[in-house]
Every structure is written in structure tokens, then in C-alpha cells.
Amino acid sequence: MEQLLIKLGQYMFVIFGLLAVGGAGVLIFSKSAVHSVIGFLFSMICVAGCFLSLQAEFLGVAQLLVYAGGIVVLFLFVVMLVELTKYQEKGIFQTQTKFAIPLVGLGLLAFAGVFRTALFGASTNEALTLQPGLVGATENLGNAQAVSRGLFANFILPFEILSVILLVALVGAIVLAKSERV
């Protein structure tokens, strides 16, 4: 039993990852929009679990707060407010299914190969964790501290560009969606 638990701990990332993929499958394939949102929520929580298993606590908590807390609620609002029943006949969306399925299968096989080498190949002796060397920290810092160092010291230029991207998204939403003044 103890052996099993240790093994489980080692493969936590893989387990959470597979569960997340399962949630994504529910999101895509379920007929009801509410089930889709719940599948999405489940998938996001599992991604947070992946982050936690990589010792990135800050990212995991942020993932929970932002996605599970914020975005899923917004999705639920949309699902409640928009009447989806009139799009029941799905024929218009699924004209390319017969081409898509073999292509997806091919892609899945390719990625299975990639991830087999990534996870179980010779590279496993380097642990898949956030390396402290990445953020230039020498001593054992907390996760949030490491992230803030990354954001405000090494990655300050992308961070500033990101702020402009958010501004542009805001402007775009207003320009495209606001009703014209008469």
C-alpha cells in the first residue's frame, strides 16, 4: 500500500493531466451546455492539480481563483442568459467530422510519442519542476516571491507588453460591440 502511495505521488502529474483531458472531453462532447461548463471546471481544477504536483503552488492557486472562480462563473452566466436550444441541429457545425477524426488520431499518436520520450525517456532524471535557476534566485524562496521576481525583474518587458495587450482587448471590445449612437 505504502509503495503504491509513493508511486502515486510520482505519477500525480500524469494522473491529473489525464483527468484534465477527460474533463476537456466532457466539455466538447456533452450535449448540454451546463455539462460542458462543468467539464471545463473539472478540467481547470485538474490543471491546477498539475501545477501543484510540480510544486508551483502559486500558479495552482491562481489557476483555481481565476479559472474556477472567475471564468467558469462567467460561462455559467452566458449559458443561462443565451438561449442555446435554437442551435440544436448540429449539422452545420459538423460537416468536416470525417476528415477531422483521422487527423486527430494521427496527431494523438504523434503526441503520444513526444510525451512518452518527455515523461519516461532519459530526461526523467531532470525533475520537471520550476527550476530555481530560472528566476535567478539562489536561496529557497517562496513560490509567489519567485513569480514576482520573474515578472518584475527578468520578464519586465513582456509584462509591460502584456499590459498594452489588455488595453487593446478592452478598446476592441468597445469598438466592435458598442451600439452606435443615434
Binding site: 518527455a118 532519459a122 520550476l130 521576481r149 520578464f155 513582456p158 498594452v164 469598438v175
Partner: protein, 505 residues
């Protein structure tokens, strides 16, 4: 121990002299949104075209600033100013100036939100400037996103037109998807090199020594980055969006789309494949050769059947990207960058000129279809002549300037040993002459339709005449062009990467 605010300020201001032009563009775009539009310049309400002149002035100032920025490496080795960055930055800003000049007519149809149109062009241009100088995959990704997001909005800007909305939506969905693929590729490469660096120079060294077990990881990462970038330059087989988007976007934005984002994306292409993945060129050479050949063939062959000139120019721009990818393939990355820059500069003038003529005709509800050009030689002799010059130059017929660029890039490709691709390029150039001459035939040998001559706005007149003159006699300035081209270089000595951080002691 410095507290947070001074430390942050130190980080921000340490290398700020490299990005003054970007800051100028972003801050003035911000001020245009508010408060200048509503408070300080109330006369813009009455005359909505007035924003064009300030926007052009801002762009010209940033052009001058970017030329005189000192060379160097900054922001924790994330942003580099060198000949390559400056050269492509100049191209992007020039293309944006042209777009603003061409936009006057289209903006007449808008009721409001004219300031936002110009502000978005400024934001997108700043994103392109960042792309040209970015030497870190993270910076590259974010600056591409900044540029792309602005473009999605501008494509759908005339939202009373259904075609524009559809084009914007299509571009947005596919663009978001391709960005995702590229980001995935970046993360695979990051993992394959030990999860330490995304800096292109360091990545290059690490990729060269990565163990055999990880070659699959590296290969898929490189391929995914390649796919993401090919989508941005609309190379075959990632070109599906481009004819629809070119067709649906407001025509000045189409002219801009065919030049500015392509120049910036090609700069990223050269930077990523010339420095970042240079040591593993065997991984990406074969796929890129396929993409290059397919773009030349499909772009030119599909253009033959087009009825709308906008779509024809879209397919022809796919073909031109194919020619330019020959420069990216070059094993001598520096020479390749120079050839691509020269080609892009000449393409900028030919293409913008052709679109300017198209926009003028569109103002009279024609110009979309090729038949609308019938008899233009009689109705507007000067305009028809300049269109003739642009089209022949796009086809690469000497003595026009397009031939100069093609000759330069094909010569380089032959020297580098890509003879098959050059043969394809020459054959497809001949095909392209066919469909360009089809338009010429319509202009000169068909009877004109009824219609009176409409006066042209002064910006377009200026733009068309300047571009026409340059394309006509540009070859005479060959030595000067080559001198500029020679400046498109990586600066030799790699400055040591200075990693800044807050001291905790």
C-alpha cells in the same frame, strides 16, 4: 535592500533608451483614446480626418527615433537593437504611414470611433517594433499577440459590413489557434533544453548539444513554432485565412496587412531561424523548403482564376512570401536577412501603390472585380500607367524595381544551393506575369464603361505618384539600396546578458 518601487523603476528605466519609439507610439495611442479625442481637440469631432495628420507625424517621429536608437541588448537580454531590427522597424513604420494615408476614404463611411482606428494602428505598430527586436521567445510571443490583436479588430472595423465581421471572426479564431500551437512549441523547446532559458542565443547553444533522446521533443517544438510563424506570414498550407481576410477587411487595412505584419513576422522568422535554431537547421530545412515551394506554386496558380483584384493580390502576396522564405532558408543567415529586407522594401512600394489605385476605384463602387479596370487607360491615363508599372514590377519584369529584388534573392538562393526552388520560383514568376498582364489587358484593350472621373484625394495622389516614381527609376539607385541593405546585420559582438534582479540582501 532597495524597496519594491525604486527597484522596479530601476529595471524599467535601465534600458529604456532602446524603446523610445515604441513608448512614443503607445503613449500617443493612449492619449488619442482619452483625453485628446473628447476634450483637448474638439475640432476633430467636426472634421474626423484631422487625426490623420497627427498620427502620421507621430509615426514619422518614431521612424526617426528608431533609426537613431543606439545598438545594444537590453531588458535581461530580451530585446536587441541592431541593423536587422532597425531595418525591419523602418519597413513596418513606413507601411503604417501608407495605411494611414490610404485610410481617408474608408473612414468617411464611419460615424464614430475614428480616433480608435488610428490608435489601434499605433498600438499594432509598436507591437511590430517589439517583434523586430525581440530576441527571446517570450517577448516574441507577446509582441506577436499585441500586433495580431490590433489587426483582428481593424479587420472587423467596418462592422456594418457582414463580410468584414466574418473576416475578423475567422482571422481571430484561426489566429488564436495558431498562437496556441506556437506557444506549445515554445514550451516544448523550453522543456527540451532543460527548462532554463528562452533566449535565442542561449537556446541555440543548448539545442546544439541536446541529447539524442530529446530530438523528438526538439523536432516537434521547432515544427510548431514554424507553423505558428508560417500562419502569421500566410505561407501555404497555413494560408487559408488570407484570401477571405484580405477580401473582407477595409481595403487600406488589406494593403497594410500585406506588408507591415509580414515584414515584422519575417524579421521574427529570420531572428528565430537565423540565430535561435541555426545550429539545428537540419531539423527545419526540409519542412521550410516544402512550405516555400508550395507557397510559390499555390499562390501563383490560385491567383489566375480570381475575379476580384483584392483576392488576386492576396494570392500574389502568398507567392511573394514564398520568394522571401528563400532568404530565410539561406544558410548564411545574415545574407538571407539582407535579401529579405531588400525584397520587402521593394514589395512595400509596389504593393501599396497597387492597393492605392484599387482604393481610388473602390470609392466609386468599382475596382473589386478585374472587369472594372476595363478601359482605364482611356479614362485615367496616368492612373492606368502607374498601375501598369506596379503590376509589371510585381511580376518581376526588368527594368522595374521588383526585378532587382527578385534577382538579388534568387541569386543568393542559387549560391546557397537551392537550385530546385529557384527553378520553381522562376517558373511561377512567369505564371504570375500572366495574371498581372490580364489586368493590364483589361485596362488598355477593353472598352471603358460609362462613368465620370472623380477627383482623387491628395494623400493618394501623392502616394501613387511617389511610389510609381520610385518603382520606375529605383533600379538606378541600386548602389544606394545595396548600401542600406548592407546595414541589415546582427551586431558582431554579443553583449553579455545582464540579468537584473532585486537584491535581497
Amino acid at each position: 535592500m532597495p524597496s519594491f518601487a525604486p527597484g522596479l523603476w530601476e529595471n524599467l528605466s535601465h534600458d529604456i533608451h532602446y524603446i523610445w519609439p515604441h513608448i512614443l507610439l503607445m503613449v500617443s495611442g493612449l492619449l488619442m483614446l482619452w483625453p485628446l479625442d473628447t476634450w483637448l481637440l474638439p475640432w476633430t469631432k467636426a472634421e474626423k480626418h484631422k487625426w490623420a495628420i497627427p498620427t502620421m507625424a507621430i509615426l514619422v517621429v518614431s521612424l526617426v527615433l528608431s533609426i537613431y536608437t543606439p545598438n545594444g541588448l537590453g531588458f535581461s537580454a530580451m530585446y536587441k537593437v541592431d541593423g536587422l531590427a532597425k531595418g525591419f522597424q523602418v519597413l513596418c513604420i513606413l507601411a503604417s504611414i501608407f495605411a494611414v494615408m490610404l485610410s481617408q476614404k474608408v473612414l468617411g463611411a464611419l460615424v464614430e470611433h475614428t480616433a480608435e482606428y488610428y490608435a489601434l494602428i499605433l498600438f499594432a505598430t509598436s507591437g511590430m517594433l517589439f517583434m523586430c527586436g525581440a530576441v527571446d521567445l517570450v517577448t516574441i510571443y507577446f509582441s506577436i499577440e499585441l500586433m495580431a490583436l490590433c489587426i483582428y479588430i481593424l479587420v472587423a472595423y467596418l462592422r456594418q459590413q457582414e463580410r468584414g465581421i466574418e473576416a475578423g471572426m475567422k482571422y481571430f479564431l484561426l489566429g488564436a489557434f495558431s498562437s496556441g500551437i506556437m506557444l506549445f512549441g515554445i514550451s516544448l523547446l523550453f522543456a527540451a533544453t532543460g527548462g532554463i532559458t528562452t533566449n535565442l542565443t542561449e537556446l541555440n547553444q543548448k539545442l546544439a548539444v541536446v541529447s539524442q533522446d530529446k530530438s523528438l521533443l526538439v523536432y516537434s517544438g521547432v515544427l510548431m513554432v514554424l507553423v505558428g510563424l508560417c500562419f502569421k506570414v500566410a505561407a501555404v498550407p497555413f494560408h487559408m485565412w488570407s484570401p477571405d481576410v484580405y477580401d473582407g477587411a477595409p481595403t487600406p487595412i488589406t494593403a497594410w496587412l500585406a506588408t507591415a505584419p509580414k515584414a515584422a513576422s519575417l524579421a521574427v522568422f529570420l531572428r528565430v531561424f537565423g540565430t535561435g535554431f541555426h545550429s539545428i537547421s537540419y531539423e527545419w530545412e526540409a519542412p521550410l523548403m516544402l512550405i516555400c515551394g508550395a507557397s510559390m506554386i499555390l499562390g501563383n496558380v490560385a491567383a489566375i482564376k480570381q475575379q476580384s483584384l483584392k483576392r488576386l493580390l492576396a494570392y500574389s502576396s502568398i507567392a511573394h512570401v514564398g520568394y522571401m522564405l528563400l532568404g530565410v532558408l539561406s544558410r548564411d543567415a545574415q545574407a538571407g536577412a539582407q535579401a529579405v529586407w531588400l525584397y520587402m522594401l521593394l514589395y512595400l512600394f509596389m504593393n501599396t501603390g497597387a492597393f492605392a489605385v484599387l482604393i481610388y476605384l473602390q470609392g466609386k463602387n468599382e475596382g473589386e472585380r478585374i472587369e472594372d479596370f476595363a478601359g482605364m487607360g482611356k479614362r485615367h491615363p496616368v492612373l492606368a500607367f502607374s498601375m501598369l508599372v506596379f503590376l509589371l514590377s510585381l511580376a518581376g519584369i526588368p527594368p522595374f524595381i521588383g526585378f532587382f529584388g527578385k534577382f538579388y534573392i534568387f541569386l543568393l538562393a542559387v549560391e546557397q544551393g537551392f537550385t530546385t526552388l529557384v527553378v520553381i520560383a522562376l517558373l511561377t514568376s512567369a505564371v504570375s506575369a500572366f495574371y498581372y498582364l490580364e489586368v493590364v489587358k483589361q485596362m488598355y484593350f477593353k472598352e471603358p464603361a460609362e462613368g465620370e472621373v472623380e477627383p482623387m484625394d491628395s494623400y493618394s495622389k501623392f502616394l501613387i505618384s511617389t511610389a510609381c516614381a520610385l518603382v520606375l527609376v529605383g533600379t538606378a539607385f541600386g548602389p544606394q539600396l545595396l548600401k542600406w541593405t548592407d546595414d541589415i546585420r546582427w551586431f558582431e559582438k554579443e553583449a553579455p546578458a545582464v540579468v537584473m534582479e532585486f537584491s535581497n540582501k
